[in-house]
């Protein structure tokens, strides 16, 4: 197997993979991998974490993609127990024809169940369904100091709370029990509303979030002045009738690593202007498949490579509700001024649901995510300005996307981090955790 990188390909630290096929491979793999008796291992799923949270301190990772079996499934109740390497794409493939779907899904289906748990991922329906782990009823784990252990919200609650959103540090997740959600159709009733600026975003959000399970906004991060914060608000509900069909598999790949980033000021401005204006009507209603609605980016299987060898960083923050308007506005202004940013800038109103993990990312407020081609000085300067804004407002950054946050900011934003550290498996350590916990 090839050496591995995180999704943003920055920092460029190649990981040596050790494949896990069965749960009982884990103890030995933890002992054998790397140089003898080495600590600082980490589990690696599909490698969709952007920064260094999926990189092992030792640069040796246990890859779980081949440990991907459904161990039990009750199609009456929609509860499945599956090994941690099963991807969300596989869960859909197995469950959708029987009328079940993921209760919560991130913007890619190419993540493992273990990864979804370790990052307590969220999606377009956060304001209704909360985070992924609110629907996880049990975990089976292996800890180097205890062997195989079970935990749930009722049993070993502290270990459960430290593990969900715990960035894979509290043990190797072997199996996940998940409550699926019923769907009648594989289609989504989608509504796309064009908005001219941030004020309108907040108005629309107030109006539509109550009636739509899924909501998200794309914004033009380069627009400034009056147009600042313009974009498309995309909302949807699972259709109440219609076919129950799997989307055809497949997708295109990047044929080569471009020598430089294809995302630059010029291409970005052209794309954003065309995309914003691609919808001339104020509102467009349509019916789309789940793949097009939830996973538009999955169509280019390795789109991360379009940023070239240098890679990219994603900046994702969430700002508490009360000051969200001012802070998000200030953040967008800074980004627009810097002239950098990405095709995909995503704004999302997160709901009041309390996340089950000690260091889960989402909180009640507004989340903003954008990709930045990796340019050391530009990013450093911009990020430090954004960090200050977010931090002052009591907001925080998403560890799954991060490659830069300071230890001081992390500790303040995630005050429960020490409870996770207390339960960290002594053999596991990520580069992210090393950076922010010391």
């Amino acid at each position: 197997m090839d050496q591995l990188l995180s999704w943003g390909r920055y920092p460029y630290n190649l990981q040596t993979p050790h494949s896990i096929y069965w749960p009982d491979d884990v103890p030995q793999a933890l002992t054998d991998s790397g140089s003898a008796g080495q600590d600082g291992m980490l589990v690696f799923g599909c490698g969709r974490s952007y920064g260094d949270s999926c990189l092992a301190e030792s640069n040796h990772v246990l890859v779980t993609q081949n440990m991907d079996r459904v161990l039990a499934a009750d199609w009456e109740t929609g509860i499945i127990l599956a090994q941690a390497g099963l991807t969300l794409a596989d869960v859909i493939r197995i469950a959708l024809p029987r009328g079940w779907f993921l209760p919560v899904t991130p913007g890619t289906k190419f993540v493992t169940l273990g990864g979804a748990v370790a990052n307590d991922v969220h999606g377009k329906n956060h304001h209704v369904m909360g985070t992924f782990c609110r629907h996880v009823s049990r975990l089976v784990m292996y800890r180097s100091d205890e062997g195989v252990v079970d935990c749930s919200p009722a049993e070993r609650e502290e270990l459960f709370a430290a593990t969900v959103g715990g960035l894979g540090l509290t043990g190797v997740i072997l199996a996940v029990e998940l409550q699926l959600r019923r769907v009648v159709s594989s289609e989504i009733e989608q509504r796309v509303i064009r908005f001219a600026g941030l004020d309108e975003f907040f108005d629309i959000s107030q109006k539509y979030d109550a009636t739509h399970e899924c909501t998200v906004a794309w914004i033009d991060c380069l627009a400034s002045g009056k147009k600042a914060g313009r974009g498309h608000y995309i909302v949807g509900n699972h259709a109440q009738e219609g076919p129950l069909e799997l989307a055809p598999p497949g997708g295109v790949t990047m044929p080569i690593d471009p020598p430089f980033s294809l995302v630059n000021q010029f291409s970005l401005r052209v794309f954003n202007t065309i995309y914003y204006n691609s919808q001339q009507k104020k509102e467009v209603l349509s019916r789309v498949g789940y793949d097009a609605f939830f996973y538009p980016l999955d169509r280019v299987l390795d789109w991360n490579r379009m940023y070239g060898r240098a890679g990219f960083q994603q900046y994702q923050c969430v700002v508490p509700q009360q000051d969200s308007y001012e802070v998000i506005r200030a953040v967008i202004q800074q980004i627009s001024k810097s002239g950098t940013g990405s095709f995909l800038a995503v704004l999302k109103q997160c709901g009041k649901s309390v996340s089950p993990g000690l260091i889960s990312f989402p909180l009640h407020g507004v989340s903003l995510a954008l990709d930045f081609p990796q340019r050391d000085h530009v990013n450093k300067r911009l990020f430090s300005k954004l960090d200050a804004l977010v931090h002052e407002a009591g907001g925080r950054l998403y560890p799954a996307k991060d490659a830069h946050m300071s230890a001081a900011y992390f500790k303040q934003a995630y005050p429960q981090w020490e409870r996770v550290e207390a339960l960290r498996d002594p053999r596991l350590m990520s580069q992210f955790w090393k950076r922010v916990s010391q």
Binding site: M1, V70, I94
Partner: protein, 247 residues
């Protein structure tokens, strides 16, 4: 009509990938393996993926006394078997086989004798049902002995020859026999080897080839396809030269 698939070595990486393909078509299974925990997990997984029914039989393939019982159980369960896949095997440590003779013999038994015994046990049942496909996983390693794994290669060559004869015998009864010769495949069996990335296939792509070869009643399948040319060249190299090449 749902197909009935019989697999010996059901926990092997290639067998599992093949089984998943059939499960999605609603097949029913009779699975044989020695590790009951793994067999249990695979059977639950196949059921979730669409298998109509999964029955299991725990045995070590080296225990040839159990073969008649296993074969009877399979036919008793389903009446007919459409496809039998013989997939069990190990990858011996060649260096150890050169000094540890009991080990070498045990490995040869697992990879050759137990396969032959299983096939012998199956052949009669297939002959009398007068239809179906027996697919046997051999290896490109059986095409010519190489210094790096000639014990394994010798076992696979034995299977190759046996299966070739069995194919002729069963042809008269309308039973088809397929020899599968995979090249490098990324499975748990090869996890410790440093396989060349570009030549290494996934079990899923190998399973796709096997599925197709079974449908098309192919006699010998090299998978991925390019191995047929690699092995053609390797077989043609005169021994005087071959013994000087490190392969």
């Amino acid at each position: 009509m749902n197909k009935t698939i019989f697999i010996v070595g059901a926990t092997s990486g290639i067998a599992e990938a093949v089984a998943r393909r059939y499960a999605e078509q609603g097949a029913q299974f009779f699975l044989v393996a020695r590790n009951s925990h793994r067999l249990q997990a695979i059977s639950a997984d196949l059921a979730a993926r669409g298998a109509k029914e999964v029955q299991t039989f725990v045995m070590d393939a080296n225990n040839s006394d159990l073969i008649p019982q296993m074969v009877d159980a399979a036919w008793q369960a389903f009446g007919t078997i459409d496809v039998a896949l013989i997939a069990h095997g190990t990858l011996p440590d060649q260096q150890r086989t050169e000094t540890d003779i009991p080990y070498a013999i045990a490995e040869f038994r697992t990879n050759a004798e137990s396969v032959i015994a299983t096939l012998a046990g199956l052949a009669g049942h297939f002959e009398s049902q007068r239809k179906g496909v027996i697919a046997v996983i051999g290896s490109v390693a059986g095409d010519r002995g190489r210094a790096s794994n000639y014990l394994y290669g010798a076992a696979k060559a034995a299977i190759d020859t046996y299966v070739s004869g069995l194919r002729v015998r069963l042809f008269k009864s309308g039973v088809h026999v397929l020899t599968i010769k995979p090249g490098f495949v990324a499975t748990s069996m090869t996890a410790d080897l440093n396989l060349p990335e570009r030549l290494t296939a996934t079990p899923e792509s190998v399973a796709r080839d096997i599925d197709k070869a079974i449908t098309k009643r192919k006699d010998v399948l090299y998978t991925p396809w390019f191995w047929i040319f690699i092995m053609l060249i390797i077989r043609w190299i005169p021994a005087a030269i071959f013994k000087r090449i490190k392969l």
